[in-house]
């Protein structure tokens, strides 16, 4: 398989500029990086440094102004809008700061959502898969709860279940713990670690060192450029398993 040999993510000289009226804002200026399967990367940097812009490009939600992006060895640049949508559905998983669950919709229905757009008939029983994913994130008891009946941490677990239910090659999380208290943050990061242990490749945006400490590698952005890319020496770990978390 070509995909297993090639890095999950490979970007070269990525730039992204916004036009604000007459003013040009360079959100990314020549970013190059490579992420292999099984990695767990923290993307760090101050507010406005370009972290979200990078994640949007990597998530195929946005296109770079220049540069090359290979996802699993496949060049994304020439693909059309529909093909990008298909890639998002098939190969990527998203976790957002604001959870982004559909209101008035149960946990199971929320988790089953991405399978609705599957065009390859990969999923025979979406509901069963959704239930399994919710059990994996420790929400087996909250299957039919709606978002407004769940705590912030529980909502983020639903979102994570939704992100992994299609078994994506890459899970992208933009400040996933930004809206959570410190205890819940630890639980969510432990869950990410457990997923990573199961082989999921993760890229997690954060500006907190305590959060980054759960990852294996930290990339730091400043003004749209990579200013640091280091492995994390003393990785934080939590003893309790995510399935047992309340």
């Amino acid at each position: 398989m070509v995909g297993s040999a090639a890095p999950v993510v490979e970007v070269k000289n990525l730039t992204r500029e916004y036009l604000l009226g007459a003013e040009r804002v360079l959100a990314l200026r020549g970013v190059s990086l490579s992420v292999s399967a099984g990695e767990m990367v923290a993307i760090m940097g101050a507010s406005g440094s370009g972290k979200s812009t990078l994640m949007n490009v990597l998530g195929c939600l946005d296109r770079p102004s220049a540069g090359e992006y290979l996802l699993g060895g496949v060049a994304v640049g020439p693909l059309d809008d529909d093909a990008l949508a298909d890639i998002r559905g098939e190969r990527l998983g998203f976790v957002f700061q604001g959870f982004n669950l559909l209101p008035r919709t149960t946990a199971v229905e929320n988790v089953a959502l991405p399978m609705l757009y599957d065009r390859q008939g990969r999923f025979a029983d979406p509901t069963a898969r959704a239930i399994a994913a919710l059990q994996r994130v420790g929400l087996g008891e909250r299957l039919n709860h709606q978002p407004n009946e769940l705590s912030g941490g529980q909502q983020q677990r639903v979102a994570i279940a939704r992100a992994i239910v299609t078994e994506p090659r890459l899970l992208l999380a933009d400040e996933p713990t930004g809206n959570l208290d410190s205890r819940t943050t630890v639980e969510i990061m432990a869950l990410f670690q457990a997923l990573n242990d199961d082989g999921v490749t993760l890229m997690i945006v954060t500006h907190e060192d305590e959060v980054a400490a759960f990852c294996k590698r930290a990339i730091t952005l400043k003004d749209g450029q990579i200013v640091g890319d280091v492995p994390i020496q003393q990785r934080r770990a939590v003893v309790s398993t995510p399935g047992a978390a309340p």
């Binding site: 946005d62 809008d81 949508a85 298909d86 998203f94 982004n100 008035r104 959502l113 757009y117 599957d118």
Partner: protein, 405 residues
């Protein structure tokens, strides 16, 4: 996404916001109900008119005096009534395609009876009048040849006149006075009801035309000559034959227009049905406007809904939905809303048409095709008016949509 998933999604969204859904559907509901009720009234009227025209008698030809003033020139002597008994006699004798001919000598006077008086139209007719106009006798007998020859002082009463003058009593064998002439009632006609124009057909007294012409004083004229063709496909032939005979008899030169008019059921029916068709069209056009307004209502709510659900759209796009998926979702939702509104509206319309019929006594006719068309049309309204909101939803940029508060 397949059609079933789209439909399920649309129904879910409709059910999750019941109040908004009902308010959205209301316009289409009212529109469809209005269309169905209006068309039912129109078609009912049309059916009633057709029924009444059939009641006039089959294969009937009506000859009326008068100049066709199409060319703007009217003939010389035409202020005088142009039809005579002799015309009728000639037609009876010479017109091969007519099986029956009856003059109608018309006058109006008071029918003086034993208990009450009543003003009615008096028609002097031939015995064949009953066959031509399809009149049945309820009791007694109709006028016969002997009555005509003997100018007998007899008459047959329409149901209205009979009940006005004699109440519950049987008029047959009794005397009435018409312009001081005592006349024996020999029969009573079966009731026919109203004409399309609302005139009471039973408010009539029939007498031998010879009697009316010679024994009743007062203004009288030959209002019509009625004829009956041997079969419906003889009607054209009969018309031209009548024209030929009458033109020759009236001594009209080729340049002169007819001083009479010949019509048959078809023309009568055409005029009447074209009038009701205009009415039906007008009514349904007015009702369609409300359907249009309903469609605009759907567009309005759907546009608001797209704005409200911008984030949802962003989420769906991030999870793999193509633009086409979003477009289809909103389009199907608009269709389900308007189709459902149409379906409920159809129910209301069918009930309403029935109610209107009960309340007013009008004949209202709901045909299945009207209902099916109205519902399909309302779903079409959903597609047309759902298009703009759906396009807007599909055109949203996923990142902007996700960021939307």
């Amino acid at each position: 996404m397949n059609a079933r998933a789209l439909l399920r999604l649309a129904i879910q969204n409709v059910v999750r916001n019941p109040t908004r859904s009902i308010l959205t559907m209301l316009g289409v509901m009212i529109g469809v109900a209005a269309v169905i009720i209006m068309v039912a009234i129109g078609q009912g009227a049309q059916g009633a008119i057709e029924e009444r025209i059939k009641n006039l008698g089959t294969n009937m030809i009506v000859i009326t005096p008068g100049v066709a003033t199409t060319a703007g020139v009217s003939g010389g002597a035409q202020s005088m009534p142009s039809l005579t008994i002799e015309d009728a006699d000639l037609l009876r004798k010479d017109a091969q395609s007519l099986v029956a001919v009856s003059p109608v000598v018309m006058t109006r006077t008071t029918v003086v009876g034993g208990q009450a008086n009543w003003r009615a139209s008096i028609y002097g007719v031939d015995p064949s009048y009953a066959e031509i106009r399809d009149w049945q006798v309820a009791s007694g007998r109709f006028i016969d040849e002997l009555d005509i020859k003997g100018r007998k002082k007899v008459c047959v009463l329409g149901a209205t006149v009979a009940s006005r003058v004699f109440g519950e009593d049987d008029p047959v064998g009794q005397l009435v006075r018409l312009r001081d002439v005592p006349i024996e009632v020999i029969g009573v006609l079966k009731a026919k009801g109203q004409t399309a124009e609302g005139a009471d057909q039973d408010d009539v007294v029939l007498a031998p035309y010879s009697t009316v012409q010679t024994r009743l004083a007062g203004r009288q004229f030959i209002g019509q000559i009625l004829g009956s063709a041997s079969s419906p496909d003889q009607l054209d032939l009969a018309q031209s034959e009548v024209k030929l005979i009458l033109r020759e008899r009236h001594g009209l030169s080729e340049s002169q227009p007819d001083d009479f008019e010949v019509r048959d059921q078809r023309q009568l029916a055409e005029t009447a049905t074209s009038t009701t068709q205009v009415m039906t069209t007008l009514l349904s056009a007015i009702a369609s406007v409300s359907l249009l307004v309903g469609g605009i209502g759907i567009m309005n709510i759907m546009l608001v809904s797209v704005t409200e659900r911008t984030r949802e759209i962003g989420i769906r796009r991030a999870l793999g939905a193509r633009r086409g998926d979003v477009l289809a979702q909103f389009l199907v939702e608009a269709m389900v809303l308007s189709g459902l509104g149409g379906l409920i509206g159809a129910g209301v319309g069918v009930g309403g048409a029935w109610g209107v019929g009960r309340l007013t006594g009008w004949a209202t006719t709901v045909t299945p095709s009207t209902v099916v068309l109205a519902v399909l049309f309302s779903a079409g309204v959903g597609v047309v008016f759902g298009w703009t909101p759906a396009r807007r939803a599909a055109g949203l940029d996923p990142i902007d949509a996700l960021r939307h508060q």
